[in-house]
Each structure stands twice: as C-alpha cells, then as structure tokens.
Symmetry: C2
Subunit: 213 residues, 2 copies
C-alpha cells in the first residue's frame, strides 16, 4: 500500500441507499463532516459510470485528506485515480488484485478468521469485518458477530480492521473498544436528514472513543 490511510470513519457510499440524490454531493457533505474514507459501492451501475464518479470523487477525497476506494472493480479504481479497491469473497481474488496494483490500498471482507489470515497473507491492507450488528441494508450479510467476533479477527491479523454492518452512534464506541481501527457506515450518514451533521457527530464519537482506548 502506497498510502497511509486514516481509517476512523469510513463511508460506504452505496448507490442502493442514495436513491435519486447526487452521490458526489453526498460524499462532499460527508467529507465536510469528517469522513476519512469513502468507498463507492455501486453493484447496480455499469463500470463506466463508476469510473466517471471515481474520477470526480478521488480528488475531492484527497482535498479532505481522505481516501477514495472502489468496491469490486480494481480496473476502474486503478485507472480512475482512486486510492484502492475493496473486494469480497466473490470478487477478484486479493492476490490477483495485489499483482495488478502493487501500490493500491486493497481491502477485503473475510468470512471468518482463517479467511482473514489468508487474505492478509495474499496482500490485503485492511479488513472490513461484520456484520457488527443487525442491519437492514444487507439482509443477506449473516448473523451479527458483535464485539466478541470483531475482537477475534482483530487479534488474528496485524492489519487495521474496520467494523461494518449496523454501525451507528449507539454502538460505534463498542466496536472501537473491541479494537476496530474505524467504523464503516452507510445509512447512518446517507439516510440522515443532514448527512454532514450525522458525519460530524459520528466522527466526534469515534475520536472520543479512540482517545479513551
């Protein structure tokens, strides 16, 4: 990984959550509120549209000292000037993404501890681990792993672990106390009446939790 990433508050900019709103405007609000990573997750978009968004978002994130990551499409992430890619078990294998992009930030969503260790050995820079709590956004994500499940993965690997799935102002402190380097949120910011204010509140919570740790 060529970049040092601040993992504290990680926005999942999921196009399934934003309806007709402008994803770039939402990202701008979230970045103004203190988001430190933005991942574009657009399962329903063709690659060309993701490319166009990433080209606009990457410099915007950089202006805020934040990282811009793309879900799944390593080719898009690399050529659009993003900082990295996030892959899951069904996507391009971590080892292949790493061969293609030696300096990119590569994240992975492991299925358990063995898979987590393997992904790190294959070149993953960080892991997105969850679901931390029950979530309406990804109903197929499996049973909540909670603080204990998160701490197990944190102990198993030497890379940053981001807690994901059902995170909000009510449980962020628990995830961080369990060893997460940051929390990933989607609807907690995107479904808020004021996304910038929601990001600001979460960021304050995260910073306070990390100071206490």
């Amino acid at each position: 990984m060529g970049l040092t990433v601040d993992w504290r508050l990680y926005l999942l900019l999921d196009t399934g959550l934003i309806g007709e709103r402008d994803p770039l405007a939402l990202a701008r609000d979230a970045l103004a509120g203190g988001v430190t990573v933005v991942q574009v997750r657009a399962k329903d978009w063709p690659a060309g549209r993701i490319y166009a968004l990433a080209r606009a978002l990457a410099p915007l994130a950089r202006d805020h000292g934040a990282a811009c990551l793309i879900n799944d499409h390593t080719d898009v992430a690399l050529t659009a000037g993003a900082d990295g890619v996030h892959v899951g078990v069904d996507d391009l294998p971590v080892a292949a993404a790493r061969r293609l992009w030696p300096t990119g930030v590569i994240g992975y969503s492991p299925e358990g501890e063995v898979d987590a260790r393997r992904a790190v050995a294959d070149g993953a820079d960080y892991l997105g681990v969850g679901p931390f709590a029950a979530t309406g956004t990804k109903p197929d994500a499996g049973a909540a792993i909670g603080a204990a499940g998160l701490a197990q993965i944190v102990a198993a690997v030497e890379v940053p672990v981001i807690a994901v799935g059902g995170l909000n102002a009510g449980n962020a402190a628990m995830a961080l106390a369990a060893g997460a380097a940051g929390i990933a949120v989607g609807s907690a910011i995107l479904a808020a009446a004021d996304p910038a204010a929601a990001a600001r509140q979460l960021r304050r919570l995260v910073d306070e939790s990390l100071e206490r740790r």
Copy 2:
C-alpha cells in the same frame, strides 16, 4: 496488442445462453470445431467466478491457437492470463483499459462511425459491430445494420471488424463479403444440438467465403 489474432470465427460464450451446461466443456467443443476466439460474457456472474473460468479457458484456447477474451472486466482478464478484454459504451473507457493493459487485445462495440473512430484512436484493436441481423439473444441491441451498415464501419477504421448479432450459417457469407474479418456467434453454436459440429460447419463456411473475397 501483443498478440496476432485470427478473427475468423468468434464465439460469444454468453452465460445467459448456456443454462446449466459447463461453459468450459462448451468452449472445448467449439474450439475443437474451429472457433478462433472465445469471449466470456457473464453479465450475471461475480468477478471471482469469471476469473476462475478465465484461468481454465485461457490455456485451453491457447492450445488451439485461439484467443481468450473477457467481456467488461479488464482486471479479471489481465490477471487471469486471458489475451484481452472486450468493452462496450457503458464499461471502462477504451483509453483507460489501454493504459492499464498496454499489450492486451482490446475490443470495443461502437455506437456508430464517429464512436468507432474514437475508440480506435483511444487504442481499440478491433471492433465488434452490429447487430448484423435481428437477434433474439440481445433484444435491446437496436435495429439491424445489415451489410451496408457493416461496410460503412469497415471503411471508416483500419482495425479488424467482427460482425455480431444474428449471425448464422445463412448470413455469414454476406457479412464477410461486406468486409468483416470474422463473425461472432453465440446461439448458432451454443444452442446447436452438436456445438462442435455447428462450429465446424460455420468455420468451413467462413473459410470458403474468405477465399472467395
């Protein structure tokens, strides 16, 4: 492009056309029948599954002197050892795919003559042009362009043009007479009772048409 490709008979290995059958076994039959290019088109598959198929298919195609191309996913194509990628108007732009993969075969499906010229200027090695005839496989593909529409693109660019869309034993000769370097078929091989025999018949037709040209 690092590879000289024989464009004569181009199989669109579309996962939407193969049902529960094994795509690798179908490709093997088609290659045995004389297919010279196999493009994996799997709009409904996650990237990891396409990667696994491409890893198996690329050496098989190579053994037959054929090329293995992947639809849309330049990252998968490059890391799986395929020979190239085929992109459309909604995919990663040709210029971006070319930056990522200087030696890969890059194909493009243009929307008209201006778009065709631009794609070639951006680095496309060949164009897939159609629909040549009405097709049930891609009902949204627009009106058939026929021999005249195909010849117009052939005249406009200096790269090989592959006729695509509704091609079969009945109209292959017309497409080749109009200047196509080859014909792309899906159901003409994949829906045949004997895919290898269908490929063999088409290949004979193509070879005879090209000899007469």
